[in-house]
Subunit: 293 residues, 2 copies
């Protein structure tokens, strides 16, 4: 089969063996925001046409392709939800010559009645849970970091943190932009930022301290970038690690996942980085259970 | 004398009687960022020239005009600092026909060794402390909210919160921009945001909840604007009210000050709004103590 993680700004496609192994892979910047006039069908055919010509007949899509801005809006499935419930709710879209299905996103409600949603991450979580049976808490860091609790193979609940997006907004659209230079992460400054997040004052105060430390206390502008990154991740961990005793599986690009593993360890937690190809594994697992006829 | 609060984006000038009463006032958008080629002297003469022609010979400036980007960089004075210490450090700049002085900003270091700074707010605090002798905690809400503890007439310490600027960055430069419409503050949604800030999850999670509540739970885009405002102010209060038992004097534009008074009251605190003209009162008090020769 073919698995596709079709997100807002990127598209990743895998050709998968019957046992879920990746035979071939492709990535493009043709996220749904880059598709004009709803030309999802021809774009998909363009990207995986040779695999179809070679005999593939099943295509499973996850991510924002199932949103209102995507190919076909697929209703969120409420948590808790396991692989069988999700596989039972795959939604077909018309495509000549192959069966194409979209994975539903998940919705949850926290103890205070506020909703949260994901699209695409549910598939990564299913893949990561397959990779590592011991981890019950799964972290997917990024623009909108997701933390999910998995129990007996079902996604029980999850929370989203705007960590990556707020980091970018602060670094680019506030006074901090004048005293920060982006670049490779300085590990000492990063860890100092993670630690600062545990001190009194809160994020709104700690963020201003990035500027004063550069102007008054000799922090370099390159270190300020790493420190702010640590500060944001540290504040995410303040909430996300609350009450978490089990190991955390961190699923993401290797550099970012490594930062999270370091930050979690600095808080006394145990974290393991899981291969980012969790999407492919999740798509393979769902594909096995899908009704393709 | 003439008092001027010359900030980054605005300039406010007052003609003051000997007893500190405001005889006349003026406001322009000629903040220091709007001044080209360092033409501070002619701009000032343009704005208060008629008052000078009418006999004024003393001009006291506070705010970012004393920064590196201003007319003349004036070193920060360390806290604790009272009115006499600040008055002793007024810095003259050359100006034909009048004595012009700049008020120094203040610097402080928190218990964890991180610096904080203010320029202009020290003058407002001195003015507000004169207006209301009972309040020991003074809040100046805004782009960068300042909270100061005043004891025996001296500014003991203070903290800055990037509340207003982070609110704007979130509302304009993140995904929240798509589900928020700016407008008058809906008081019910505002108070709900203030309350939400006390719940588990932290600011990074609560901010994402603004979007999900609009998309999934029927919150209007106008209410989302007020809710996000309440959320940000609520997170500021989480830190700023920690350990504060005395009444808080809130100094600022009436609409914003009223929101803070409401938010502080909803947390069981006591707050009073103080006239925003605290700058003029502070400049008058400093002017009385200055050496003008």
């Amino acid at each position: 089969m073919i698995g596709v993680d079709w997100g807002t700004t990127s598209l990743r496609a895998w050709r998968l063996d019957q046992d879920g192994a990746v035979r071939d892979r492709r990535a493009t910047a043709q996220g749904i925001m880059a598709i004009t006039d709803r030309q999802f069908e021809p774009v998909l055919r363009d990207i995986v046409g040779d695999w179809l010509a070679d005999g593939e007949r099943r295509v499973l899509l996850c991510g924002m392709i199932g949103s209102r801005q995507g190919w076909h809006e697929v209703a969120y499935l409420p948590c808790p939800a396991g692989i069988d419930e999700i596989a039972a709710r795959l939604t077909p879209v018309a495509f000549a010559g192959a069966a194409v299905r979209i994975v539903p996103g998940l919705a949850t409600i926290d103890e205070n009645g506020v909703a949260d949603v994901m699209r695409g991450e549910e598939t990564q979580i299913l893949g990561a849970a397959a990779c590592d049976g011991t981890a019950r808490v799964i972290c997917l860091p990024g623009t909108h970091s997701k933390w999910a609790v998995v129990s007996a193979g079902r996604i029980e609940r999850f929370s989203t943190y705007m960590t990556g997006e707020m980091f970018a907004a602060l670094a680019e659209h506030t006074i901090l932009a004048r005293t920060i230079v982006a670049g490779p992460i300085d590990p000492v400054a990063f860890t100092a930022g993670v630690a600062r997040a545990t001190e009194a004052g809160g994020l709104l105060h700690h963020a201003f301290g990035v500027r004063t430390q550069v102007l008054r206390q000799g922090m370099t502008e390159a270190a300020a970038y790493a420190y702010l990154s640590g500060l944001m991740i540290g504040h995410e961990l303040n909430a996300a690690l609350d009450g978490v005793a089990t190991p955390v599986a961190v699923v993401g690009a290797s550099t970012l996942a490594a930062l999270y593993v370091t930050a979690i360890a600095s808080r006394g937690g145990v974290a393991i980085a899981v291969d980012e190809a969790a999407s492919a594994a999740g798509l393979a697992r769902l594909g096995e259970r899908a009704s393709w006829t």
